[in-house]
Symmetry: C2
Subunit: 349 residues, 2 copies
C-alpha cells in the first residue's frame, strides 16, 4: 500500500484539477479538502473521488470555474447558485456568506443549489468555527442518491442526509453524522472484505433485517435503515428535517423518483457565540462538560469515552507524520487520471 | 378512568394556577399548554404536572408572575432571564422574541435560563410555525436531571436533551424527540405495568444491557442509552450539541455533578421561510416529499408509514371529541391540589 506525503499528494491533485480546467485557487481548495479528509481518516471522501470528479467534468456535469452567484442576498439569509462548480468551491463560498452575515448580524444562513459533491461536510462547520462561530451544515443529494428506506418501507427513498455541528472550542467538537445508521461506504468496505454487518444496519428488498451487505446492493436492492435501531423513526425524522433545510428551503429540491445523483443541496448556518456570551466562557463551560462525560467509571472493557472529533484528530496526527496510505486501486486510478491529463508520473514512498 | 372535556379541564387547571398566585394570562397559558399535551397523547407532559408545579411554588422554587427580562437583546439574538417563572411562560416569550427577530431580519435566536419546566417542547416549534417560520427548540435540564450515560460510561451524565423541529407546512411536520433512545416516562410506564423494555434502551449500574426497567431505577441506578443502538455515539453527539446550545450558549450551564433538577436551559430559533422562497412553494415541495416517503411498497405487516406529528394529530381529534382520559392517581392528585387551594370540586364525566 503506497504511503504519500500529504504535501506531495495535495500538489499533485491540485495540478490534476488545474489541468482539467479549474482556476488555480479552486484547484488548490478542492485538493486541500480531499487531502484533509484522507488525513482525518475519511478515505471515502478523500482522493478516491478525484477520478470521478474528472469524469464528471468530461461528461459536462461538473463545471470548473463556473460563477458562484447569489440568487438572493438579505440581512441574514442568502440563496447561492453554484453553477455546478465543484461542491467544495460552492460550499466554501456558501458557508463564507453565512459566516459574514453572522459576524455582522449574529446569525447567518445560506443555502445552495446546483452544487457538486461537497465532500466531507464537517469541513464547512470547521470553517465557521475558525471564525468563532458555531457552524451547522446539512446536505441532501439534490433529490437523488437514495440509499435509505423509511421505517416500514421497502424502497430506497432518502439520501444519507448528514448533519454537521462544529463548536468553536479547543479541542474542536466536530459532529459529522449521517441520519442513516451508517454511511453507505461502510457497507461497501464490508462487502469487499466478505464480512457481515451488524444487525439493524440494513434490510433486504423484502424489508427483512439482514447482515449480508450484498443484500443492500442486490439485485434486488435492499436499503439502509435510518439511525435509531428500535427508534429508527427518530433518524427518519432527522433525515426529513435535512431534506426540508437543504432541499426545500433551497431550490435544490427534495428526494424524488428519477432525480439524478449529481451533487448536493446545502444548508449552512453560522452563529456568532460572542453575541450571547464571551467565546472563552462558552468554550470553558463546554470543556467542563466534556471532562465530566469522559470521566470514569467505565463499563467493563472500556478505558476511554470518545467524543465527536477525537478519532479524526488522532488520525490526522498519525498521517501527517507517516503519510497517507492509499489502496492500490485508488493509487492506480489517480496515476492514470494524472497521466491522461498529461502530468508527470508521481512516485510514492 | 375519568374522561374530562378539554375546556372544563383547562378552566379548572387555570384556576388552580391563579389561586397559586399566577397572573390570569399566565395561568391560562400554562393550562392551555398542559391540556394540549394531553390532547396530543403526551400525558407525561400534561396535567399530571400540576401537582408538582404547585409544590414547586410552595417550595419557593417556581415564581409565578416573576418578570421575564432580556439580559441581552441584539439584531438577531437575545438572552432571556426567566426569573424562575413557569417554564411555559418563559419559553413562550423566548420563542416570541426569536420569531419577532426572524420576521424583521430573517433569522432569530433566543436562549433562556432560570426557566421552569417548559413541558412539551414541540409547542414552541409550533408557535414559530404559526408565524410562517421554521421553529427549532432544544432544552437541557439546567445542568441537572441526568438520566443518560455516555456510550461506555456507567453513570448518568446527561439529561434527555430533546430536539424539536417544526415546519410551517400543512399538515404540520413536528419532530419532537429526545436524544436518549426513549424518554424516561416510557420506562416508568413499563415498570408500573411489570413489563420489560426492548433490548438497547437501558444498561444497569454495571453497564450491562438489560430489559428490566427496575434496573434503571435501582438502587444501584442504571441509565438510559443515547439514541442510535449500534450507533449510540450519534445520539450522544446530538445530546452534547443540545448541551452546547441550551446550556453553554445560555447562562443555564451544562450537565454537571450536583446540579438540582429545577427547570430547563432553552434554545429557540426561528427561520423566516419567505426570505428563501415563497412559503407555499416550500410547503408544496415538502408535501411532495412526504407523499413520496409514505407511498408503497411496504414491508410485510405494514400498511402505513408514520411521519412526525401524525400520531399527535390523531390523538387530538379523538380526545377533543371523546374527552381526556386521566388515570385515577393523576385525577385524585389534581382534585386534592384544587381542594387545597380552595377550589370547588370538579366532576368528571
Amino acid at each position: 500500500m503506497p504511503l504519500l506525503p500529504p504535501a506531495t499528494l495535495r500538489a499533485y491533485v491540485a495540478r490534476i484539477f488545474e489541468a482539467a480546467g479549474a482556476p488555480p485557487e479552486d484547484a488548490a481548495l478542492v485538493a486541500h479538502h480531499l487531502i484533509e479528509a484522507n488525513l482525518q481518516g475519511h478515505d471515502s471522501h478523500g482522493v478516491i473521488r478525484v477520478e470521478r470528479y474528472i469524469r464528471d467534468i468530461e461528461a459536462g456535469v461538473l463545471h470548473p470555474g463556473a460563477e458562484v452567484r447569489l440568487d438572493r442576498d438579505d440581512d441574514t439569509t442568502a440563496v447561492v447558485d453554484g453553477g455546478w462548480n465543484f461542491g467544495q468551491v460552492v460550499a466554501h463560498r456558501t458557508m463564507a456568506v453565512a459566516v459574514e452575515k453572522a459576524r455582522l448580524r449574529g446569525v447567518g444562513i445560506a443555502v445552495a443549489h446546483r452544487c457538486g459533491h461537497v465532500g466531507r461536510v464537517g469541513a464547512y462547520g470547521e470553517q465557521a468555527a475558525d471564525a468563532g462561530c458555531i457552524g451547522i451544515a446539512m446536505v441532501n443529494n439534490h433529490g437523488g442518491g437514495r440509499v435509505m428506506s423509511a421505517p416500514g418501507g421497502l424502497e430506497r427513498r432518502l439520501s444519507p442526509n448528514p448533519i454537521v455541528v462544529v463548536l468553536p472550542t479547543e479541542p474542536r467538537f466536530v459532529l459529522d453524522m449521517t441520519t442513516s445508521v451508517v454511511a453507505e461506504g461502510k457497507l461497501r468496505v464490508a462487502r469487499n472484505r466478505g464480512e457481515s454487518v451488524p444487525d439493524g444496519w440494513i434490510v433486504d428488498a423484502e424489508g427483512r433485517p439482514v447482515t449480508d451487505p450484498a443484500a443492500f446492493y442486490g439485485p434486488p436492492q435492499g436499503s439502509l435503515r435510518p439511525l435509531g435501531g428500535d427508534a429508527a423513526h427518530k433518524g427518519f425524522g432527522l433525515a426529513l428535517v435535512v431534506e426540508a433545510l437543504a432541499g426545500a428551503l433551497s431550490p435544490a429540491g427534495t428526494s424524488r423518483p428519477g432525480a439524478p445523483s449529481v451533487g448536493n443541496g446545502l444548508f449552512c448556518m453560522a452563529i456568532d457565540v460572542a453575541r450571547f456570551r464571551p467565546l472563552d466562557d462558552f468554550a470553558a463551560t463546554f470543556a467542563a462538560l466534556i471532562e465530566y462525560v469522559q470521566s470514569p467509571p467505565y463499563a467493563p472493557g472500556v478505558d476511554h469515552i470518545t467524543v465527536p472529533g477525537e478519532p479524526e484528530r488522532t488520525s490526522q496526527r498519525t498521517r501527517e507524520a507517516a503519510g497517507i496510505p492509499l489502496d492500490d486501486t485508488t493509487w492506480q486510478q489517480l496515476l492514470a487520471t494524472g497521466e491522461k491529463l498529461g502530468l508527470p508520473r508521481l512516485e510514492a514512498r
